[in-house]
């Protein structure tokens, strides 16, 4: 099975045997990988019933729920690692969500699309319209992404909240790139965070 590059990176970084909560786990591809390769005790949360059914059908423990509300149901420190991939930009309250991730998990992995990627900037500059790209393929009025952010925004966001960045990784055109000028060059970013 081939995971998306940001998920593959997260999978490679999660410690062996960790208790993991994958928030917005979809059909459970990352969870399955973590259970098989890292012997993790993986749990998932997903809002879409069909995706939950698929994940349960592959033998995973996934709860249908809305991260914007139901993360509050988990006890403090219930997990070693909480993962939020490609979901922060869809959250009603990204700040609340980050607090919850670092409350239920001792550390968190957060991945998101970087709206300051140079092709985005160019598209916005040249056309004057919200960019529709391969990775953000939906028009502004129907996209789930209601809180577009950039790598620089995210750094400010975690700094202001006293959250520690333990590592960050960047991706463009489906592969990992170096960290220099990431706010220009990266399509996606993965951050490893803790309190």
């Amino acid at each position: 099975m081939s995971l998306r590059p940001d998920l593959a990176k997260i999978a490679s970084l999660v410690p062996q045997g960790a208790r993991v909560l994958d928030v917005g786990c979809g059909d459970g591809a990352l969870m399955a990988e973590l259970q098989a390769q890292k012997l993790c005790d993986a749990r998932g949360m997903e809002i879409d019933a069909e995706e939950v059914a698929k994940a349960v059908a592959r033998g995973l423990s996934v709860v249908q729920g809305d991260a914007n509300r139901d993360l509050a149901d988990y006890p403090d420190g219930a997990f070693d690692v909480a993962i939020l991939s490609q979901t922060l930009q869809t959250a009603a309250r990204p700040d609340w969500l980050l607090d919850q991730l670092l409350r239920v998990g001792r550390e968190a992995f957060v991945s998101f699309p970087n709206f300051a990627y140079w092709r985005m900037r160019l598209s916005l500059l040249a056309n004057g319209k919200m960019p529709v790209t391969r990775h953000l393929p939906v028009s502004w009025y129907e996209t789930d992404n209601i809180h577009h952010l950039t790598v620089a925004d995210f750094r400010d966001f975690v700094d202001a909240r006293g959250v520690q960045v333990k590592g960050c990784w960047f991706f463009a055109a489906g592969r990992e790139i170096g960290g220099s000028n990431a706010n220009w060059r990266a399509e996606h970013a993965v951050f490893r965070l803790s309190r």
Binding site: V52, A53, V56, A57, R58, V62, V63, D73, Y74
Partner: protein
């Protein structure tokens, strides 16, 4: 009740008295059961299915009383989501019922039917009797317990009270606590039975049974098993075998005719006193109360049990919100839990009907 006396059921007699939550105990309890699929040599492949309020042990195969197919043929059988080519499926008639397990229609120590002398039982008492059945069958641990509606209550109760006995718990369209509304509907049904002159304080086994009251109880309950959308789609305001309203009180509407049929046919296979006792057991069900007030405490011993909970969006009897409380409690003890609200038009009865997404979930969870 001519039905139970003329049919013989496969059953075991428990060799010890059954202790009850009321403080009483019941001696010489019979538990009627059916099985499907072979039990593995190491006895590791048994699945216990708990039936619902008016269900029975005939999950698959022709029912000896009604002649109809088993109540969960679409879920259980060779190659089905609960695959009897791989699993040994057991289903027992709950105590208090009337398909061969000891209930109010059974003969008491004085040689007469118990009637209202039968002790009030609980969901936990039903489960306890079935654990004693497993003891008698020599089955220590189950691969899974499975149940919908009252069967789901038993599944949750089993996990809470006998956590070592099953590796998996699949609870569908159910709740950890009967709500005021749930109790209210049941009380209406009980009062209908008791208002029938044939009920005679429950001592009717030598004469006519209170069929009218039982039929009304069933009609009222049946409405709670369906959704408004389902009723509208199936019947709307269509008239039954007539061109115009009769300006009388015949069953003018199809929905009336349907409910009357449901009520009447129910009296052919069910004992009115059993209906009183089993609905009472459901009303008393509150897993959190049993554990001292916190639902999470009920599941303290079940943190290594895998749970799968399923609700339906049109089920207004046991709702998604009810199920979320169970999810919350299981998360609090870090039990591996899956939960999904499936979309189906049939209301509470969806767990018995054609919902392909449910098959997919059950197949994956049972493994």
């Amino acid at each position: 009740m001519a039905t139970t006396s003329t049919t013989s059921f496969r059953s075991v007699t428990l060799d010890a008295p059954l202790p009850l939550d009321s403080g009483r105990e019941l001696a010489g309890v019979q538990v009627a059961y059916e099985t499907a699929g072979e039990l593995a040599a190491d006895k590791s492949n048994a699945i216990l299915i708990f039936h619902a309020l008016t269900g029975d042990q005939f999950v698959v195969g022709q029912h000896p009383v009604t002649g109809k197919p088993g109540w969960w043929e679409r879920m259980v059988g060779p190659g089905k989501p609960i695959d009897t080519d791989r699993y040994h499926v057991i289903c027992a008639n709950v105590i208090g019922s009337c398909m061969g397990s000891t209930g109010p229609a059974s003969l008491g120590p004085d040689g007469k039917p118990y009637g209202m002398e039968f002790p009030v039982i609980t969901i936990r008492d039903m489960v306890r009797a079935q654990m004693m059945l497993l003891d008698a069958l020599g089955i220590e641990t189950l691969h899974a317990v499975v149940g919908g509606s009252m069967g789901g209550m038993q599944a949750l109760s089993c996990a809470a009270n006998f956590p070592g006995r099953t590796g998996r718990v699949l609870a569908i369209a159910t709740t950890a606590r009967h709500s005021a509304q749930n109790i209210a509907f049941h009380e209406m049904g009980r009062q209908a039975i008791m208002a029938d002159p044939n009920w005679r304080g429950g001592d009717y086994y030598d004469g006519n049974s209170p069929d009218k009251g039982l039929a009304v109880a069933r009609m009222a309950a049946h409405i709670t098993y369906l959704s408004e959308q389902g009723l509208t789609e199936k019947f709307g305001r269509q008239l039954q075998d007539r061109e115009a309203k009769s300006f009388g009180f015949d069953a003018d509407f199809q929905v009336e005719s349907y409910l009357r049929y449901q009520g009447l046919s129910f009296t052919d296979r069910f004992d009115a006193n059993s209906y009183l006792y089993i609905t009472r057991a459901m009303d008393y069900f509150d897993l959190a109360e049993e554990a001292g007030g916190l639902l999470a405490d009920a599941f303290a011993g079940a943190k290594d049990t895998r749970f799968c909970l399923v609700s339906f969006d049109t089920d207004w009897l046991y709702t998604t919100a009810d199920m979320r409380e169970v999810v919350h409690a299981l998360n609090a003890v870090a039990a591996p839990v899956s939960f999904v609200e499936l979309s189906a038009p049939y209301g509470h009865d969806s767990f018995l009907l054609d919902v392909p997404a449910l098959d997919q979930v059950v197949t994956g969870f049972i493994g």
